[in-house]
């Protein structure tokens, strides 16, 4: 019998590292998985709001209005979008998600007065019907790209990258490609769909300007055009998106999820959402474009508190993807045996890439999809959005704001030195902003 006191694990080779090395040795290929980063990184949890007390005056509970509406696309578009709440639903493809999940999101967003976003693989009729305000993504792969959908979209998002994998493409594994998904993407059924890492017909911000111009010409200069980037060199990327003519910039931090990509990308590429927001806002301010070109922030937004902090940092709106899936039931402790069959358990599942989603969210399997009736999904999602808005308003009122966009960086302090440095707000109880104030 081994004496447990004699066992000493290695910090360099903990069990999960040993497991991964041996998996690589067995299979000879990198790990592909869904979901976002699992490592602990500085986040909005490391910031705190400064509620009003004597020096400031709060707004009263539910009575005094706290406006949450925001206009997106006021720079060039003839028909900017008005969102009643500053929380949008991020692009998730039909293919990665099943049609029930897509419809659930659309209905909830419509009820709450916000938008949903298509994804790689094109727009479905169900999605267009369900969602009153629909953002249509133009991605490098252009799967399902169609000018009719461009014309029936309310806004267009040119996706340069996403937080989970800036600089990389995606990989929708063959097991998720049923007949309908395959047809939409002009590919045979059951084969892996590699998504390109850059657009096929433009390179660089100077060409992007021409691409945006083309889309505006095709759609009669009506629709707001967003540019979405994964957070890396965010200051430059934001400035270049503005120079290329974007109406709005979407910055997706490294906590952002994915349906399927290399684990090495998810865990090792990009910067957290927290510093990315700050850099994006600074870039906009330098160009005198803050609030003129709207900033939408995504990647690890989960609660009204996250939203409040992102807005206080200077975002105009946020976008949720993974959290929306969780609201629909992702990782819910039900159907334990199906999680087990995937080799995982509720709370640990990242098996979106397998198409065997136990709760019927990221699957094309009709049997599994039955577990998420769209009406039920729509209600769950609406409740979740509703809760986040109430939380957001609660915090904004506490800070004395009659509009959530009036939250400021000065309404926050940081809990950790790292967060103080990244967000450039003072460490709680001090005047210290790392890198500033002569410290």
């Amino acid at each position: 019998m081994t004496d447990p006191r004699a066992l000493r694990g290695s910090a360099t080779f903990p069990p999960e590292v040993i497991r991964e090395i041996q998996r690589a040795a067995d299979q000879g290929v990198y790990e592909i998985r869904g979901f976002g980063t699992k490592r602990k990184i500085p986040s909005f949890d490391d910031l705190l709001m400064l509620g009003a007390s004597v020096s400031r005056y709060p707004l009263e509970g539910y009575r005094e209005a706290c406006d949450t509406s925001v206009m997106i696309g006021t720079r060039f578009a003839k028909k900017p979008i008005e969102l009643k709440i500053p929380i949008t639903v991020a692009g998730m493809s039909f293919g990665a998600l099943g049609s029930h999940a897509k419809r659930s999101l659309g209905w909830a967003a419509t009820e709450m007065g916000t938008s949903t976003t298509t994804g790689d693989g094109g727009m479905t009729d169900e999605e267009r019907e369900a969602s009153k305000t629909l953002v249509y993504q133009v991605l490098p792969s252009r799967y399902g790209m169609n000018p009719d959908d461009l014309r029936r979209a309310d806004a267009i998002e040119v996706v340069v990258g996403q937080g989970a994998k800036p600089g990389g493409g995606g990989m929708l594994l063959g097991q998720k490609i049923n007949e309908r998904v395959a047809k939409m993407r002009d590919l045979p059924q059951g084969i892996d769909q590699r998504s390109a890492s850059r657009h096929p017909d433009w390179t660089g911000p100077d060409d992007l300007e021409i691409k945006i111009h083309e889309i505006r010409e095709i759609t009669g200069w009506e629709k707001p055009i967003y540019v979405k980037v994964g957070a890396t060199r965010t200051r430059f990327d934001t400035a270049l998106a503005v120079k290329a003519g974007a109406d709005a910039v979407v910055v997706d931090g490294m906590q952002g999820g994915t349906a399927a990509t290399q684990d090495v990308f998810i865990e090792h590429v990009g910067i957290p959402t927290l510093p990315a927001v700050r850099q994006a806002v600074e870039a906009l301010q330098e160009l005198d474009m803050h609030r003129k070109v709207q900033l939408i922030v995504s990647g690890g937004i989960r609660s009204g508190a996250d939203v409040a902090k992102a807005l206080a940092m200077g975002a105009d709106a946020v976008s949720i993807g993974s959290a929306a899936m969780v609201a629909l039931g992702c990782n819910k402790p039900v159907y334990h045996e199906d999680y087990e069959a995937l080799g995982t358990a509720p709370g640990f599942c990242h098996h979106c890439h397998t198409g065997r989603c136990p709760v019927g969210v990221t699957t094309q399997d009709p049997e599994l999809e039955k577990r998420l009736p769209p009406e039920k999904g729509g209600r769950l999602m609406r409740n979740y959005l509703q809760t986040m808005v109430l939380e957001l308003q609660t915090l904004a009122r506490a800070c004395g704001k009659s509009h959530v966009l009036n939250l400021e960086p000065q309404d926050m302090v940081a809990l950790t030195v790292e967060a103080a440095a990244m967000a450039q707000v003072p460490l709680a109880g001090t005047d210290w902003v790392p890198g500033k104030n002569n410290y």
Partner: protein
């Protein structure tokens, strides 16, 4: 301006967006469906997003994305075309009388793109159902990730032809500098000669189908777990 049976737009004076407002208003069955655009001077997105059967002739050289996302229209570019001519076109016909720059017909999903001269690199990149006929040669990385449709090259092809190819079919008459990953030469059977004959006839490009070789996907990259490479 209306002249002998067609309506003329002069891009030296008229804004592209107002020209497009007119062209985009054309409906199926309209009488006035013949247009000419002069003095394009390398402007971008000329005749982009057309959405009904019509004839558009452009006299001069165009910039990026001429005829982008075209549906049903018949567009003739009497000059050279910049990058991304006919990108993501759905149907209709685009004819470039001169050469085309890179990414011609990128992600095109249908219709036919004819380039009477040479096409540069990445011709037919990520093509998804379009038929492209090139009278001259194509540059490197042409038909990269080609999914569906046909690329016909009457001249030579640059290196890495058909890299990461899916189900697009490639016919080349001349030499190929090199084939990309997963692209292989395949047997030219009678049905392929028939297909090619049809494509050439539609394109109006004169070439003998028997002089071409056929290239397609080896389908070895089709699945992440390579144990079912014979999917299809």
């Amino acid at each position: 301006m209306k002249t002998n049976g067609y309506i003329e737009f002069d891009l030296d004076g008229e804004e592209l967006s107002s020209v497009h407002a007119r062209l985009h208003s054309v409906k199926q069955g309209d009488n006035e469906r013949s247009f000419r655009i002069v003095n394009p001077r390398g402007k971008h997105a000329v005749a982009a997003g057309l959405n009904a059967p019509m004839d558009v002739r452009i006299d001069g050289h165009v910039g990026f994305y001429c005829g982008g996302m075209n549906k049903e229209a018949d567009i003739t570019i009497n000059g050279q075309a910049g990058p991304g001519v006919g990108e993501n076109m759905m149907s209709g016909l685009i004819r470039v009388c001169g050469n085309a720059s890179q990414s011609a017909g990128a992600t095109g999903r249908g219709g036919m793109l004819v380039i009477e001269g040479d096409a540069s690199s990445r011709c037919g990149i990520s093509m998804k159902g379009i038929d492209i006929v090139v009278g001259g040669s194509v540059g490197h990385m042409s038909c990269f990730m080609g999914q569906r449709g046909h690329l016909v090259v009457c001249g030579d092809a640059g290196h890495d032809l058909g890299d990461s190819l899916y189900e697009a079919q490639i016919f080349v008459r001349g030499s190929v500098d090199s084939l990309g990953a997963d692209c292989v030469e395949k047997e030219m059977r009678p049905e392929h000669i028939e297909t090619l004959k049809g494509l050439l006839a539609r394109s109006g490009v004169n070439a003998d189908p028997k002089e071409f070789r056929r290239y397609g996907s080896a389908r070895k990259l089709y699945n992440f777990h390579i144990d079912n490479a014979d999917a299809l």
